[in-house]
């Protein structure tokens, strides 16, 4: 079964499993998959743990309603680093291997983000999380210089990402 | 006239059996709702052309009837007709109950009923829907206060002024419900200034029909005396309201026939619309208006409670038909996006849209009635709302 299918079923399953381990306080914690890209998140991990929903919600309203398209707190961007695209060997096979869902299932917090949002990045975008229009157009037009472009993309990507963290 | 004595109904076997019966219907409605929400609305008859289906027919009927059910109380306290006064508490209770039933159906048919909290925290004050939410909650609050004034002796003196306020509010509310359609500029069937007043008269008729059935049933089941005087007055009133609706329907269609631009939708409803034409002539006009009028005014049947009840049921059926024709027929008829052109597309442009109701939609709709009736049953069990007797001696000012 596809991961996205599985995620759809989570809310129903959640009600039943409502985080028995969390209540029991066995101290094991959820097994959250490691990020597949980058070393640091856009904010310190402790901050993200506590406040990611606020960041996401704030960004979502700005992005959709006002057209502010910064990447720092975008859900799509979370997935770019935290979830491998479909077909990738690291891609989650069920919800317990999905960065968001593993923790949310553990904590028993139902979210409906993934009823609408894609659960994984697409292959094309994963070539570089910050595909700029210029690069995409050039890549489409001059496919053969792809090697060079990829190198460029990689270096540009790491620059931007660190930029966002500071 | 003697002072009216109000008492609660007994909580015996009959009471519980009644609750259980309605409970089953409500459960069926909830199961339908779960089925539709879990799968998505593809399991219903709705589609991208007919977006409001059978649940909306029931919901709007109940909401319209709710404001009409308050009428009996208004006639008593606002217009000072003595005979209606003892009926006022039941009238108020029924009004709130019907509104709750209708709103429940409306909410349970949303695409995302789980987001109700979003609807309550984000208001678009330009939206007539949002206005209606205020009108509905206000209605419940005002009628609740009104009931309190009526049932609590020491507040009785205020009941007339609160009653008047409630009456004005109910007119606003029905106008608001009618305006939901009035704002749809592009839909020909709804493009009529007559819509709002027509809804007001419809509410009188539907509300009274339900009120009479509930009154008859509760007095029969509790073995309380209900005199012919009350029955006769109510059935005459119902006759007037049914005739009133018929009159508005006539004017509405004549006006549409007069305006050339609306000929298409008129001939669709009146002659070529298949199920809609049939429901219009047979359901709305014949069974829902003419037959009840004949029953109510024919001396042979007009004095029999059995026949009057049948007439009331027919009025309800006619009302549902009327809303079905108006709501669903109005959507099935294609919008005129390109006047003067024959239009075709893969999205149903220029075509009569298809819609057939499915069982879950009907069950959800019917459960709205059950919700309302459960609420009434519980209310009259716990509030002293029903007069112990409505025998002629109690109500008829001319009786000895």
């Amino acid at each position: 079964m596809r991961i996205s299918k599985l995620l759809q079923m989570v809310p129903a399953a959640l009600a039943l499993t409502l985080s028995a381990p969390a209540l029991a306080g066995d101290g094991a914690g959820p097994e959250v998959p490691k990020a597949i890209k980058g070393e640091e998140c856009v904010e310190p991990t402790s901050d993200m743990r506590r406040n990611h929903m606020e960041y996401l919600k704030h960004h979502r309203d700005e992005a959709l309603r006002e057209g502010i398209r910064t990447k720092q707190y975008s859900l799509k961007q979370c997935l770019e680093c935290h979830v491998a695209p479909e077909g990738d060997p690291q891609a989650p096979q069920d919800s317990s291997e999905h960065f968001c869902m593993a923790c949310h299932e553990y904590a028993g917090v139902t979210i409906d983000c993934f009823q609408c949002h894609a659960t994984q990045p697409k292959e094309t975008a994963s070539f570089h999380p910050l595909v700029t229009p210029g690069m995409k157009a050039i890549k489409d037009q001059a496919g053969r210089s792809g090697e060079l472009l990829n190198q460029f993309a990689e270096s540009h990507a790491s620059k931007t990402r660190t930029g966002a963290i500071q | 006239m003697k002072k009216t004595l109000y008492t609660q109904i007994e909580g015996g076997k009959g009471f519980w059996a009644l609750l259980a019966g309605f409970g089953v219907v409500i459960l069926a409605g909830l199961a339908s709702m779960y089925y539709m929400e879990h799968n998505g609305h593809w399991v219903t008859g709705m589609n991208n052309s007919v977006v409001w289906g059978t649940p909306h027919v029931f919901a709007i009927f109940l909401i319209v009837a709710a404001s009409g059910a308050l009428n009996v109380a208004s006639i008593g306290s606002v217009f000072g007709k003595k005979m209606y006064k003892p009926l006022a508490p039941l009238s108020g209770i029924l009004a709130v109950a019907l509104l709750v039933g209708g709103l429940a159906v409306l909410v349970l048919d949303l695409g995302r009923p789980d987001r109700l909290i979003v609807a309550m925290t984000n208001y678009n004050f330009k939206s007539i829907f949002a206005w209606n939410i205020i009108l509905y909650t206000g209605f419940m609050a005002i009628v609740a206060i009104y009931l309190w004034m009526m049932l609590e002796k020491r507040f009785n003196k205020y009941s007339t002024s609160v009653g008047t306020f409630a009456f004005v509010w109910r007119l606003l509310l029905t106008t608001g419900t009618g305006s939901i359609f009035g704002f749809l500029v592009a839909r020909e069937a709804y493009d009529a200034a007559l819509m709002a007043p027509m809804f007001v008269v419809m509410s009188f008729s539907f509300g009274l029909a339900i009120f009479m059935l509930v009154l008859f049933a509760s007095y029969r089941m509790t073995g309380r005396p209900l005199g012919d005087y009350v029955v006769r007055r109510l059935k005459n009133l119902l006759g007037v309201f049914v005739a009133g609706v018929l009159y508005f329907v006539l004017v509405y269609h004549l006006a549409n026939l007069y305006a050339t631009e609306h000929h298409g939708v008129e001939s669709f409803i009146l002659t070529s619309g298949g199920i809609y034409t049939m429901l219009f002539w047979v359901g709305q006009i014949l069974l829902g208006s003419l037959v009840p009028l004949a029953i109510l005014y024919n001396p042979a049947t007009g004095n029999s409670r059995g026949w009057i009840s049948i007439a009331s049921v027919l009025v309800i059926f006619g009302g549902l038909s009327q809303l079905y024709v108006l709501l669903i027929g109005g959507q099935a008829y294609p919008m005129k996006t390109f006047p003067g052109y024959e239009v075709t597309s893969s999205f149903g442009d220029g075509m009569i849209a298809s819609y057939s109701p499915t069982l879950p939609e009907v069950l959800l709709g019917i459960s709205g009635f059950a919700i309302a009736l459960v609420a009434v049953t519980i209310a009259v069990r716990h509030l002293r709302a029903l007069p112990a007797s409505l025998a002629d001696g109690e109500t008829d000012p001319h009786a000895a």
Partner: protein, 250 residues
């Protein structure tokens, strides 16, 4: 003039390819250079502004009966082409559709794409109880699905039948275009592309260049120029909604 635009773009892309080797030093130049063709770029942190109003001019004279390349392009771009296996054809979403017209009196026929017309005074926005239907500062009308409760009032109110309700659970959405069960959706004018400085997918894919996209408020834009030069109409002009999408040849 739409030829003009395309010429410019092709020219530019040629340059772009030549430039590829030098990219590492000046990526910004490339990005800005591209967008000048028809869609000016806007920095990511800047909100959409009412100084712009995005619009389209559809030339139905160029639009061929039977061609539905714009429809296919939109479906693939936004992921609605094959996403609802359970829904009936009447229930499936259609953000854009081809409409065939035949004049009842003269028999003259036209073919044209219909989609959300991005009204200046959108009835869908007026009636939406939760403000989920909204108009962005730059005139693009969107559904905020975080707020949509699926009441379908907007679908009742839209005179162009531009909106679709999602009747079933969706999976595998496009990452840039979230959409899901129980909410309403319609053409977004490819807002995700426009914000990146790209044209909407239908505009790009039309083999006849029948759709011109641009800023109606900029008197120098190709679309504004074309609108001053040629007759054009809004569909149901009588309703006074002032749509951002206009048509030539009907």
């Amino acid at each position: 003039m739409s030829e003009d635009t395309n010429l410019k773009r092709r020219e530019f892309i040629g340059n772009g390819a030549k430039l590829a080797a030098g990219l590492t030093i000046a990526p910004g130049v490339v990005v800005y250079g591209l967008s000048e063709a028809s869609v000016p770029d806007r920095p990511a942190e800047e909100p959409a502004s009412s100084e712009r109003r995005w619009g389209m001019l559809v030339d139905s004279n160029k639009c061929a009966t039977g061609c539905d390349k714009c429809v296919t392009a939109c479906g693939e771009e936004n992921g609605w082409d094959d996403s609802e296996p359970n829904s009936s054809p009447e229930q499936k979403a259609q953000w854009i559709r081809k409409v065939e017209l035949r004049h009842k009196g003269t028999g003259k026929s036209h073919s044209l794409p219909m989609m959300c017309q991005h009204c200046e005074n959108p009835p869908c926005v007026d009636v939406c109880p939760t403000n989920a239907s909204m108009k962005r500062a730059d005139g693009i009308v969107l559904v905020d699905r975080h707020r949509c409760i699926g009441c379908r009032y907007c679908m009742m109110a839209c005179p162009y039948k531009a909106r679709s309700f999602i009747h079933e659970t969706l999976t595998d959405q496009e990452p840039h275009m979230p959409r899901g069960k129980g909410t309403v959706e319609s053409c977004t004018m490819c807002v995700h592309r426009v914000d990146e400085g790209r044209e909407p997918a239908c505009v790009e894919e039309c083999p006849e260049q029948a759709i011109l996209f641009g800023d109606l408020n900029d008197p120098d834009s190709a679309i504004a120029q074309a609108l001053t030069r040629y007759d054009s109409t809004a569909v149901r002009e009588d309703l006074g909604l002032n749509p951002g999408v206009r048509y030539r040849g009907i």
